[in-house]
Symmetry: C2
Subunit: 331 residues, 2 copies
DNA sequence: TTGTAGGCGTTATCAG
DNA sequence: CTGATAACGCCTACAA
């Protein structure tokens, strides 16, 4: 069943049918109704590929994220997809993992699917040496690239980030002015956000005359055990009474560490998380965490994307959204 | 840059270029190399839409799930996407929410995108009155429909489910034979899995002469507070020393309830979860939960899909995977 | 081994 | 207001 069949049944040309389908051009009410009825009866749907071919777009955007089973990323994907769909875009998902090569492959794959744009979700798409981000710039030569929670400068690249620096600074300062003497930062792997957070903590510590060096950063492997191990190692290296974590999962794991070591939280060890995820609501004590506004960021990203694809000229290349500290009982 | 440009640059016809691209037919090594080189130089990629048009497929499958920010679903989506990609399929994601109408819309939308198949992830796509599932059967007239964690009988519908009944029976029995006198089941909303789990618990209770009626089912609203409220209400209605939960999030919330009511777990209240999610690893005490093999189920679903689309005749319409009890310290 | 030509289903541009 | 017709870019018989 194609447009020719409909046209034949309605005794009109395919052009008229096309006009009715797309609401473009003038069609007499009589023929319009007739065509609509016939379309209904045969429940005909225009062929998406043919449409894509003709118009050069299927209104699809590629969403790349490292891992949808990450709490933060999965929520981001949820909101992105919802907002995109509201704006008439489909979402082609690709979970790339954290490996550099895989990420590049995935991006290339997306491009070959002729998506209208890609969204890189999460701070893992950005390497610290800027030249390593050229693969993103190269992609941006073909289609607009949007980044959520990561920033790279370049033509046709649009970024929405959270002000990790400031909120981390504030959180560290809050901790330092309420009793913390030494802060350890627990991270999983180096990412754009991580670097911003560390910078915030470093500056807050500097201001308060507290040492914060590379020693004060714990690299945790996957799993609760990995976190515990990393903290144990760190404790042999430096003294700390506070652990600021890259996300709530690390913080929840840090609580386990405290428990295992017999340290009471927050009196002997203070712990903070990040992301304001469901985890922060079910631990005991409740986690002090940071609400980095996933939903708002997702929505903003889609807004920018929609405007950009509509050839609006007023689109900001970098939008920064500020985050809030959420006080729990772990600090 | 299209196939004509490449052909011209290589002094061959488009047919030859096409053959090289698809590795079909015989092409002399010399011309093949030349074409390959030119393709490289111009980094040309075949137009996906044109290809789709000609072949009637873009090798894309639609993944429908209620909400990717659900722990279980997000992990399922992750594994599904990965396995699909390995088999050369792209994933078009659609988070439908839990509303019936929205789910139907989303399914229709997917069909209109000419996906090769759809996967309905999670047990929320199935209504208890079977006729309400006709929308799935209707979709299956156009393309194969795969369900993960839900089952509906019908032509062209393939289901992979977890044996929720048996494992729930076993878990309930284990609890009843180790001290539990009365079980409460905490659920969020009625779904396929829920019904299977309840059946298992009901039968185990019956076997052990323990009452388990509608009274013993608590419907929890969203959020920790919602769970606590539901359990409080239930406690006014019936006596229970054990709460079996539909998933780990409910179980973690139930722990909060116990804490708030001053009930120690497991001595005064025993709590079990479901899904073996990261939550079960970070609560205190660790949750007793059920490993329902998300990864294996996802992989199996994709396997069935691939075989089915390859027109293999030996594909089971319903695959059941068994689950394991994971003992924690909450029971 | 290579080339020609028709078909896939739309949209859009012209005439009428 | 409506119709004919040319793109859109690729695949694949069928010919050579």
């Amino acid at each position: 069943m194609n447009i020719y069949d409909i046209a034949k049944a309605a005794n009109v040309s395919i052009a008229t049918v096309s006009r009715v389908i797309n609401g473009s051009g003038k069609v007499s009410p009589a023929t319009r109704d007739k065509i609509l009825r016939i379309i209904q009866e045969n429940d005909y749907t225009p062929n998406a590929f043919a449409r894509g071919l003709g118009m050069g777009s299927m209104r699809t955007v590629g969403i790349l994220c490292a891992n949808t089973s990450d709490l933060y990323l999965s929520e981001a994907v949820f909101h992105l997809e919802n907002n995109l769909r509201k704006s008439g875009f489909n979402s082609l998902l690709c979970c790339t993992g954290y490996d550099r090569g895989e990420k590049e492959n995935a991006l290339r794959l997306m491009l070959s699917k002729s998506v209208d744009a890609v969204i890189l979700v999460g701070s893992n798409y950005i390497e610290s040496e800027d030249s390593a981000n050229d693969y993103i710039r190269r992609a941006a030569q073909q289609i607009p690239v949007f980044m959520m929670n990561g920033a790279v400068k370049g033509e046709n690249i649009y970024c929405v980030t959270c002000d990790d620096y400031t909120v981390s600074y504030e959180l560290a300062e809050m901790l330092l002015t309420t009793g913390s003497k030494s802060i350890l930062f627990a991270q999983r792997n180096n990412s754009y956000s991580t670097r911003r957070m560390i910078a915030g903590i470093r500056d807050a510590c500097a201001k308060h005359g507290v040492t914060f060096s590379g020693e004060h950063i714990a690299n945790c492997e996957v799993g609760v055990a990995g976190v515990i191990r990393a903290l144990q190692e760190a404790s042999r290296r430096v003294k700390f009474d506070t652990v600021m974590c890259f996300n709530d999962l690390l913080a929840a794991s840090a609580l386990k560490y405290a428990q295992q070591e017999g340290l009471s939280v927050p009196s002997q060890l203070r712990i903070s998380g990040y992301d304001y995820s469901v985890l922060s609501l079910i631990t005991t004590p409740l986690l002090t965490t940071v609400d980095n506004k996933v939903e708002l960021m997702s929505q903003t990203t889609v807004n920018v994307l929609v405007h950009c694809l509509a050839k609006d000229l007023l689109v900001s290349q970098h939008t920064v959204i500020s985050a809030n500290i959420v006080k729990g009982h772990s600090t």
